[in-house]
Chain length 467, copies 2
């Protein structure tokens, strides 16, 4: 990376690997220009940048500097920018602002994003802020902030565009124009009756191609996809992906429109959910904060439960070994193959479990497919087990002769088969009992496969060698 | 679920769990109405359904029935519907169609989706189809089909809306109206010069709020986010998520606009990439087909490589055990704790690796954060190791007395610490050498942690017990 002579040289700059310039480097430059009082250069530089990138630079500045730099933007851009900051940074900056400034900023923010910020503030800051907001804003904030985490309500926004069914398409276009600055999106508009019940949805595209005198009520979709505010947020993401929606309307228990979830929020939700499933897949529990920012205790707490549980689970493997102590004492060379065999069962099982957990999560397979998939898994596992048995019997021949090779090879086939079938079935079993299939994690499957592996190996060895 | 008396009763029907009616059940009903020749009822039922759902029903019908049912829809809806079918079903239906019918359908399809279908057809079918298409369509098909899998080019579409910089905003609105039926989206329009180089992007929302005489060139974003056609498709998904875009323009090497990637395609790509990373996390290699549909051989091939490799990796653990054979023979009770200790190191390591792999993939942590995160990991791992040591020393006391308890507890702390630090570091090491961090999978980390675990345990045991 070459040293730029001015901020604007940084515009779109990439290093040798094609990665964007390290935001910390840009932040250093911004800090330098701030010290020199050259705010015009900073403002000009920000003009050339996407707000998401400006946010990344501000993250690397001290809070005072970040606020000073943020104030160089128009209020509307400030409102968009702060939403791109990490929650913790939003709070530190908001805390530094005067009450009126913060209230003005929050008025300009997306309703969902300001509710998220509001929830992060401590009670004192919340109470100081409320009187500076309008009554409608206060009520909206309280209402959105009341939804529980992980519900659709907690990710929806209430600044959607509405139309009336009796409007002509040209009137509707005019109405959307008037709502464009306030609404999160005007590409989908919602038609509600007097009780605020959703009676239709209209895409701006359909409005564009309608004849000027056609009425909204005649061209709207009267049977739109919608979701309840208390449903799980990942369900909203799934509907948006399935039906290629720009936004999904959210209804309360009485069919009244209370908000929308936009596609970009759905993408964030989907990413969050994938992260959670991935973590679960290695027995890491859910965390509120990002991994990069999480405290030592947060991570400790997310990890310790399953680790200790699995310690006790593995006692059974130890007990299995203890049970076969005599066989082992007579053939100590068997121990050489122990790690390899039990790891193979665990690995094959972890593969099978992971494939099924993910396929169930994305809807690629359904619980009803279990029988068909089990039959397929038997054949796959036999193929895998036989291949691995060939590999391991060569080592068996070399280490212990034909008898050991036979024991190890037959144990391998049996262990891989059992591990794979167990790993493949566990997610379906969890699903059957209404538990999250993602809990059928690699380490859980591995531990169970270990126990099966120890018992199988020594049982076969005892049968073939002792008699 | 109660038996519906007619197809329209199925509309939006859910079973007791709130899940939508099994598509196989709806398919049976459709087949019954087809046999009875009551196509009007089917057509009326389809009217009430989203096309993505109709596609799910057709998947469960025989190919002939599916085609007959599909023909009840308008051409435009047929074109949208077929894209919702699985690739294999698209091909079987397309193969059943007459050449002219297929050509008409493909003309009505999204450019990206018809290119995907075209690529799936066998060479004979491709050559039969081409003469029935227009010259522009043929060229577009060939061009889109030529991009390699996993590139941006392979997921982009060429039916984007364009504007000229000299148009007034009302002329531009008129131009978008004219393109609305053909274009994939009119919510973002692209402005190109004579050489088809991208010179600006304009959101329909900004066009709506512009004054009628303002020129496109004056209100467009002249510095839009874009991507190269040969970049990785996940990079496009990342940009769309980061900048909350509706569509991302794709440029060739000369800055010419060649296509766009839409947000809904980006969602599919992000899901696909997450699936691939999750699979990699348990050593399952990439597959072209879905897990539900994959053949036995496809799955065998995706799984066998790492399984065999790890067999050989685990030989080192066996060799470690063989090396300490005398210590073991003298204290056979040590074996009881072997599975538990090495599994603990592997589990802690898998947790650490998974956390880092995902955080690196989502940009939550950066390679440069390594030092800070390593320091944090030392403290977390010590906390985890000490907690697990307490748990295990109780078992040690019970099984073998205070000496064994001491050996087991100190081995636990050391093994968990090493496993966690190794698992945490491996993704960064892979990244440093330009390998995908996701390859630092659970099973790989577990196998390495096993070796460390065996050596550590018996070294500590030999030191504390033999002397």
């Amino acid at each position: 990376m070459t040293q730029p002579s001015s901020l604007s040289d940084l515009r779109g700059a990439t290093d040798a690997d094609g990665d964007f310039v390290d935001p910390r480097f840009v932040a250093l430059e911004i800090a330098r220009f701030l010290r020199e009082g050259d705010t015009d250069s900073i403002r000009a530089f920000f003009e050339t940048q996407e707000l998401a990138d400006v946010a990344a630079y501000l993250e690397e500045l001290g809070t005072e500097d970040a606020l000073t730099a943020m104030r160089l933007l128009r209020l509307h851009d400030q409102a968009e920018l702060i939403a791109h900051l990490r929650p913790a940074s939003q709070v530190t900056i908001a805390t530094l602002m005067r009450r009126r400034e913060l209230a003005a900023l929050m008025s300009a923010m997306s309703h969902d994003e300001r509710a998220d910020l509001y929830k992060q503030l401590d009670e004192e800051a919340q109470e100081a802020l409320l009187p500076a907001l309008s009554k409608a804003e206060r009520e909206d904030l309280r209402r959105l902030a009341a939804y529980e985490e992980w519900t659709v309500g907690s990710v929806m926004t209430s600044d959607y565009a509405t139309l009336k069914p009796e409007m002509t398409s040209s009137q509707a276009l005019e109405a959307l124009r008037a709502q464009a600055l306030e609404a999160e999106t005007v590409y989908t508009a919602y038609i509600v009756d007097e009780a605020h019940r959703l009676i239709g949805v209209l895409e701006l595209e359909d409005l564009l191609i309608a004849r000027p005198r056609q009425r909204v009520g005649d061209i709207m979709d009267t049977d739109p996809v919608s979701i309840g505010a208390d449903a799980a947020q990942e369900e909203a993401a799934r509907l948006i992906a399935r039906y290629d929606l720009i936004a999904l309307p959210v209804l309360d228990g009485n069919g009244r429109l209370v908000g929308i979830v936009t596609a970009d929020d759905a993408m964030d939700v989907a990413e969050q959910e994938a992260t959670e499933d991935i973590h679960k897949g290695s027995t890491v529990g859910p965390m509120e904060s990002s991994v990069g920012e999480a405290s030592i205790f947060t991570l400790y707490r997310a990890r310790i439960f399953w680790l200790v549980l699995l310690v006790f689970g593995n006692i059974f493997s130890g007990a299995g070994i203890a049970y076969f102590q005599q066989t082992i004492a007579a053939h100590l060379s068997l121990l050489f193959f122990l790690p390899l065999l039990i790891a193979s069962g665990g690995n094959a099982g972890a593969q099978s479990a992971t494939l099924m957990v993910r396929a169930l999560a994305t809807g690629d397979v359904r619980p009803a497919d279990f029988g068909r998939l089990l039959a397929r898994e038997v054949l796959i596992a036999l193929g895998l087990g036989l291949t691995m048995a060939i590999a391991v019997s060569a080592i068996g021949l070399w280490r212990g002769g034909p008898e050991i090779a036979l024991v190890v090879a037959s144990a391998m086939v049996a262990i891989v088969l059992m591990g794979a079938l167990f790993g493949m079935s566990l997610p379906f079993i969890f699903d059957r009992f209404n538990r999250d299939p993602a809990a059928a994690s690699g380490p859980l499957v591995t531990s169970m496969a270990d126990i099966l592996g120890v018992m199988t190996y020594f049982t076969i060895a005892a049968a073939l060698l002792d008699i």
